[in-house]
């Protein structure tokens, strides 16, 4: 018991000696760390890049919903033009079925005989 107590007293004395024997930072360490601090500080203090204001076209595109919306709009326009030029058979069939009309678009009707018939009947 006494032996253990003595050991602890000796240990406390030794720990006090070690406490007093504080390792000192080597030359240059403080300077290196200060330099590091300055480099890091410059990195996070750098002002953010200034945002540029978009032009008229850019604002128009933004108003439409940006590039994704614009590409959708362009695709829909192309599809509409294509359907106008060359409508598929099924579309004409669907128009006849659901709307109950048959139509045809004649750009130029050159039927001279009909005109002569009308003139003949009048005579």
């Amino acid at each position: 018991m006494t032996d253990n107590k003595n050991n602890m007293v000796e240990l406390d004395a030794l720990l006090a000696e070690v406490r007093a024997d504080t390792p000192v930072p080597p030359d240059g360490l403080i300077a290196r760390i200060t330099e590091q601090a300055s480099v890091e500080q410059k990195a996070f203090m750098k002002p953010p890049a200034k945002a540029t204001r978009p032009g008229v076209l850019g604002q128009f595109i933004q108003a439409l919903g940006g590039w994704p919306a614009l590409s959708g709009l362009a695709t829909a326009t192309c599809a509409g033009v294509w359907l106008g030029i060359s409508p598929p058979q099924s579309m004409e069939f669907a128009a006849e079925t659901y709307l109950g009309v048959e139509y045809a678009v004649t750009l130029l009707d050159i039927n001279f005989d009909a005109a002569f018939d009308l003139s003949g009947e009048a005579l």
């Binding site: 253990n4 240990l11 406390d12 504080t22 403080i30 290196r32 601090a37 890091e40 500080q41």
Partner: protein, 192 residues
């Protein structure tokens, strides 16, 4: 803020000043904290180059966390000791996987007189005995009995309860006393 007026400013206030662009705050923090963490790393690793690397890395992490630091939430020294403890543990684990010949010898003090040599031998013997303790026990003993920190702070650094800290330091000290008993001759203590 002028450098000479920063003596009374707390560590976390200095860190906030640093984050806001004050370069003098960094100088004051470096001068205040580096000796402490270097000494702790040196006591844990017993190697100057490793202790230097650990101190530099820990301070670098402090500078990087500065913009996100919230004043009053944690103590800067507690946070730093925890970083140092983790870095030291990593290095000690790596060193254990190296062959014995590759591990650097502990540094010898250049003592010129018998008394200094004996003191150095005793200190080295204590460090030798400390090195035989498990990492967590050694960490707790160094923080409590050499760095002189209080148990609640050690508990926070080691992320364990205060009771576990007390138990760890007590077991560590007993193990240290036992390891030293076998080295008594080298220490220069006599029974009478």
């Amino acid at each position: 803020m002028p450098f000479d007026r920063m003596n009374d400013v707390s560590d976390d206030a200095l860190l906030v000043l640093y984050a806001n662009g004050d370069s003098e705050a960094a100088k004051m923090l470096t001068q205040r904290l580096t000796p402490r963490i270097y000494a702790h790393a040196h006591r844990m690793l017993r190697n100057q180059a490793d202790a230097e690397d650990v101190a530099q890395e820990a301070m670098l992490r402090l500078w990087r966390i500065a913009p996100e630091w919230r004043q009053g939430e944690a103590k800067v020294t507690t946070w730093l000791y925890r970083v140092v403890a983790n870095l030291c543990t990593d290095r000690l684990r790596r060193a254990r996987t190296k062959p014995l010949d590759a591990v650097a010898e502990p540094e010898d003090g250049a003592a010129s007189v018998a008394q200094q040599m004996q003191t150095r031998a005793r200190i080295d013997a204590l460090h030798g005995a400390l090195a035989t303790l498990p990492d967590r026990q050694r960490e707790a003993v160094v923080l409590r009995h050499i760095e002189g920190l209080a148990n609640p702070e050690i508990a926070e650094i080691m992320q364990i309860s205060i009771e576990a800290t007390e138990s760890l330091t007590a077991r560590g000290k007993r193990a240290l006393a036992s390891a030293l008993k076998s080295r008594k001759d080298a220490l220069g203590f006599t029974d009478d």
